[in-house]
Amino acid sequence: MRSSPGYIWIRCAAIVLLLLAVTGHAADYDRALPGYHYQFPRDNFDHPRYQTEWWYYTGNIASSNGHRFGFELTFFRQGISRRPNPSPWYVHDLYLAHFALSDLTGGRYQHAERINRAGPGIAGADAAQHAVWNGNWRADIEPNSQQLQAMTNDCRMDLRLTPVKPIVIQGRNGISRKAAGVGHASHYLSFSRLLTSGSIRVQGVRYTVSGTSWMDHEFFTGSMAPDEEGWDWVGLQLDNGTELMLYRMRHKDGSVDPFSSGSYIDAGGRSTFLASADFSMRPDGDFWTSPHTRGRYPLRWHIAVPRFGLDCTVTTSLDNQELSSRFGPSYWEGAVTVQGRQSRALLRGVGYLEMTGYAPGAANIEFP
């Protein structure tokens, strides 16, 4: 990141996004409040009344000969202005997208990001088109299947995702709270188990892949509290057909916010809300320091949900899965494996771990 006295390059736009998020006219937006009435498939798409929205696809997939990959494809929408303006070039929202491919077998991680305005069809999240897209990265969301497409100059991914379970509305009363106080919450929807098949091409090699994916869709306005620094999140798909989602909000002093929560989805698709008292989630060593951002991430986590007899360890086979962003805060988002027990039975699983707020300069992370 080059800089010269008095002036900086556009590469430092990260700060700006923050600035926009902070100084944006919160009054123009609704906050995530209890009692939201969800409508599907409409609520799978955009909610311009909320300032921030994302569609987060992560998954563990492997080729038939056992080459394992993790992927992340995320679409962000950040409200900039709600002033009425008929021009498609007028920037009502910024659309960002992250695409990362973790070659777990090959030990390589690559990622790309892009930023766009809606423009004349350049990016968007449109119920009429059943799609969320940023250029040619897109998710076509149909009731019974979702189609993902993303590409860079040297890799390409085309996946078909089939939900095994119905959509989960996380949290309680339609909101997933992040801190004390009204509005520090998001509307949070998950497809916790999506059967995945398709192809990826990396460095000229094409793999036919299959596996499971997770999709989170959140929309909110300023969900984090000022003293919160970041969060740690896991979405685990266990081999007994259940899924576990947990997040913990971290304060600047290192303490964990009591509004951290999660959910347990049983094999039948029924979801149980987990309050912070219901689980424990703590780093368990294996710290890794990013050479890019100097962020220090714990790569081994211990998780226990006594209510369901769950006790397991989350580890990764690839340390560097940090998405160092030019346009927004950097974070670690990577494929993980789970090993442990549930009520004495051996338990295995896969999932994704997300850790934000570790990279310096990304304090007060609101976004993403």
Binding site: A13, V16, L20, I80, W89, R117, G119, P120, I122, R326
Partner: protein
């Protein structure tokens, strides 16, 4: 070693002995080379600037999407969503006039947000803790080159179309953007708003991957685009403009070589004189054992010395002249072709090599004939001065016959068609004519001189007798001198006639083409490729004013047709007044054709367009309009002198069907009979308050047109002037050598009672006679050359019909100027002759 010795003896010593003369020839040669070099440099600078100003903050792309009237912006999204790793960059490309300076600068609108994705895109310098996104929705935010405004927060008022607006500088284009001249950049949204181009963009740049291949990509994307939209290799517009500019540059380059051609005459003269003068010496060195080849080489080396030194001098001189040339040139390029600002003048290795190749080449080539003659001098030569002249006299008849043959060849060659779009044969015909006249000059002098001398003797006395006899006596030298000067004069005359004819043609055309009482166009310097608009409401407001009978809206868009730039225009032909004025090649009345134009998909095209694209009345023409490709029927070809690329003209109603933008590029206002011009002018001004439009009365717009015309040809005049200067310098140099050669004669005359003023008068009369002869021959040759220029070269490279016209006043002024300069050139030689010591020179052998 013997060669060196020979060279020193035969060449260097005489050269040093006649320092002034050698310096004059050297300067003339270097001026000739310098002019050629300057035009080359200035041409490069003008062409390169065009390239860079549009490439501003563009990064690397390989395809571009364009459409007449703008690319529908929905295509941006369509292309961005294509499932291939293609980078898609929409751009608004327009011009703005800086209110403070009147300078017209490129105004570029880019998607600042998507721009951040481009790893190669230019980075903007911004104040700390801000970003381009801060002002993303501000319609007033502007990013500029530092030369335009040097502090963030400063205000730059721009005139865009017919509106002035103050913009706030938010940051600067990085120096890495390699921008030549000032540039303003806005976000695409603000730019669309400022330029009134809602709904479309001017260009979409595409970067496709290397594989499977450029052609495959082009084909793949082409099928996805609407038919009217063009997919072209990136920079093809630059290339198209370059192609169009090529003819102009080519012709200019040829003009720039006139001075060099004149210089070649001078070298020929110099070397011939050295050979004649040193025959005895040559005989001696031959007797001493020097071979023919050695003598030949020695004289070629003399020429080469002039070439090398001349070229060397030409480098700084050319660089200096290029500074002036580039201003004139870019004025022409702006007025005729494309908005451009001169790029940096770069004295590249290539251009330096060119200078040397041209300088030495021309010098050696022009020395070849006299050097061969020198080589033929037998060792036994004991040379009598009269003999050589006698030879010339004998060859005179043969030369005259040859001249007639060459003139016939010229007549034949001028009938040949263009070669690769360039009027090669026209120029060959011109060269043949020049050669013919050079060969005919000895015969002409022998015929004219007695007449002249008889006439002059009565007027000027004995000096005239002596001068005319001396000139006729040294026929060869006189011929070369007259040839040199007359060639320069002929070039000047021919170009003056061509330009004068063109000018008169344009004046006549404007009288017919501009029937309206008032014209309005957006303020700012007009340019061939700029199409600023007047907001739609103004025409309606003016039409309702008392005293106004009709308002005709004219709209122009840039069009690329078959790889060449052209103008797509529409005119409102509803009122009968508006249907007057256009003259058609077919001679059909304007009102008939224009009434037909208003119906169906009919079009008329201008003469240059018809010539460039071989379009005839009755042909079908498929035009890309917006996203559609529409077939049109050509119902007429009209005379036009305003647009070199050519115009395709539709009725306004037709155009609006395909390109619905109602804004006009200019308005023609017709008054009701009896309406007072000044009253209506005041009313129009009032109606136009708040917009920045220029209002011209009929007379004013014609003057404006002529001003632009004259500006366009400024560089031509400058080139002519240099050629004349070279010739006059040559005459001065030659007169000095005449003085040196004939010093004994001057001494004798003093013994016979001549006063010093008579000697001086003698030289001046000789200069005057050379001037008269050269003017006579030059005018004659110039007339013939002007015919080639007008009917061959102009037709083949520009395709304009020019009515022949003698620009009498200009010619009289120019020719008398040249004549005065020639006589003045005799002043120094005359003073040399005046101060010769007769006693010393009378005994010299």
């Amino acid at each position: 070693m013997p060669y060196l010795c020979l060279f020193l003896r035969l060449i260097v010593r005489p050269m040093l002995r006649e320092k002034t003369r050698s310096l004059l020839v050297l300067f003339a040669v270097s001026l000739g080379v310098a002019v050629a070099l300057a035009i080359e440099l200035a041409g490069d600078a003008a062409a390169s600037s065009f390239h860079t100003s549009l490439q501003t903050v563009a990064g690397e792309y390989n395809l571009e999407v364009r459409a007449a009237g703008g690319v529908p912006q929905s295509l941006v999204g369509d292309l961005a969503r294509l499932p291939w790793a293609i980078r898609v960059t929409p751009r608004i490309e327009d011009h703005a006039t800086v209110a403070a300076t009147g300078e017209t600068i490129p105004l570029i609108g880019i998607d600042f947000i998507a721009h951040a994705n481009d790893p190669d895109g230019a980075r903007f310098s911004l104040p700390q803790n801000t970003s381009i996104f801060n002002d993303i929705n501000s319609p007033d935010a502007l990013w500029v080159t530092r030369s335009l405004c040097d502090h963030v927060g400063g205000t730059v008022t721009l005139l865009i179309n017919d509106r002035q607006h103050a913009y706030t500088v938010r940051g600067f284009l990085p120096s890495s953007a390699q921008v030549s001249g000032d540039v303003a950049v806005m976000d695409i949204d603000a730019a669309q708003q400022a330029t009134g181009k809602r709904g479309s963009v001017d260009r979409i740049l595409l970067k496709v991957p290397d594989r499977p291949g450029f052609a495959q990509w082009q084909q793949r994307i082409r099928t996805l685009l609407p038919p009217g939209v063009q997919l072209l290799p990136q920079g093809s517009e630059t290339a198209a403009n370059r192609r169009m500019l090529a003819a102009f540059r080519w012709n200019l380059r040829i003009l720039s070589y006139i001075a060099l051609l004149v210089g070649a005459f001078l070298i020929y003269n110099t070397i011939s004189v050295s050979v004649v003068r040193r025959r005895a010496e040559i005989g001696t060195v031959r007797a001493l054992g020097a071979g023919r080849r050695a003598v030949l080489l020695a004289f070629l080396a003399e020429a080469a010395v002039f070439g090398v030194l001349g070229s060397l001098l030409a480098l700084p001189l050319g660089r200096f002249l290029a500074g002036g040339a580039v201003r004139l040139l870019s004025a022409t390029v702006n007025a005729l072709y494309v908005s451009s600002r001169p790029g940096p003048l770069a004295l590249s290795t290539g251009s330096m090599a060119l200078a040397f190749v041209v300088g030495i080449g021309v010098a050696v080539a022009s020395a070849l004939a006299p050097a061969l003659e020198a080589a033929r001098v037998p060792p036994t030569e004991a040379m009598a001065r009269g003999r050589r002249e006698y030879d010339v006299r004998v060859e005179r008849r043969r030369d005259a016959v040859l001249a007639v043959l060459l003139a016939l060849a010229a007549a034949f060659t001028s009938r040949l068609p263009a070669l690769g779009g360039k009027p090669v044969f026209g120029y060959i015909a011109a060269l043949l004519l020049v050669a013919a006249s050079a060969l005919a000059i000895p015969a002409l002098i022998t015929i004219l001189m007695p007449v002249l001398s008889a006439a002059l003797r009565r007027l000027l006395g004995v000096e005239a007798l002596l001068a005319s006899r001396s000139l006729a006596g040294s026929l060869r030298r006189t011929s070369v001198l007259v040839g040199t000067l007359s060639t320069a004069i002929a070039m000047m005359t021919s170009v003056a006639i061509m330009v004068g004819s063109f000018r008169q043609t344009v004046v006549t055309w404007m009288e017919c083409q501009l029937p309206a009482d008032f014209y309005l166009r957006p303020a700012g310097e007009p340019g061939a490729d700029r199409y600023p608009t007047i907001q739609p409401g103004l025409a309606d407001r003016i039409a309702k004013l008392p005293g106004v009978a009709a308002v005709s809206r004219f709209r122009a868009y840039p069009l690329e047709y078959q790889g060449l730039p052209a103008t797509l225009a529409s005119a409102e032909l509803d009122s009968p007044q508006a249907r007057q004025g256009t003259e058609f090649l077919s001679g059909q009345p304007s009102s008939v054709v224009l009434r037909a134009l208003a119906t169906g998909n009919n079009t008329i095209v201008s003469e240059p367009f018809a010539n460039k694209h071989h379009v005839h009345t009755g042909d079908a023409l498929t035009l890309p309009l917006g996203s559609r490709a529409v077939p049109f029927h050509v119902i007429g070809i009209f005379y036009d002198y305003g647009d070199e690329g050519g115009i395709v003209l539709l009725a306004r109603s037709t155009m609006l069907r395909y390109l619905p933008d109602p804004a006009a590029s200019s308005l023609a206002v017709y008054l009701t009979p009896g309406a007072d011009l000044e009253t209506v002018r005041a009313r129009i001004r009032e109606a136009a308050a708040g917009t920045d439009v220029l209002l011209f009365s009929n007379g004013e717009i014609r003057r404006e047109g002529i001003r632009t015309f004259d500006q366009t040809f400024a560089i031509t005049y400058a080139l002519e002037a240099v050629a004349i200067l070279v010739a006059v310098l040559g005459v001065a140099g030659a007169l000095i050598s005449i003085v040196i050669d004939r010093r004994r004669e001057f001494g004798l005359l003093r013994f016979l009672g001549a006063s010093t003023s008579q000697i001086r008068g003698l030289i001046l009369v000789e200069a005057g006679l050379i001037g008269i002869l050269a003017n006579f021959v030059g005018l004659l040759l110039g007339y013939l050359l002007s015919l080639i220029l007008i009917y061959v070269i102009n037709q083949q490279s520009f395709g304009w019909t020019i009515q022949f016209h003698w620009p009498v006043a200009v010619l009289i002024a120019a020719l008398s100027g040249v004549y005065a300069a020639t006589v003045l050139a005799g002043l120094y030689p005359a003073s040399v002759a005046q101060h010769l010591n007769p006693i010393e020179v009378i005994h010299e052998e």
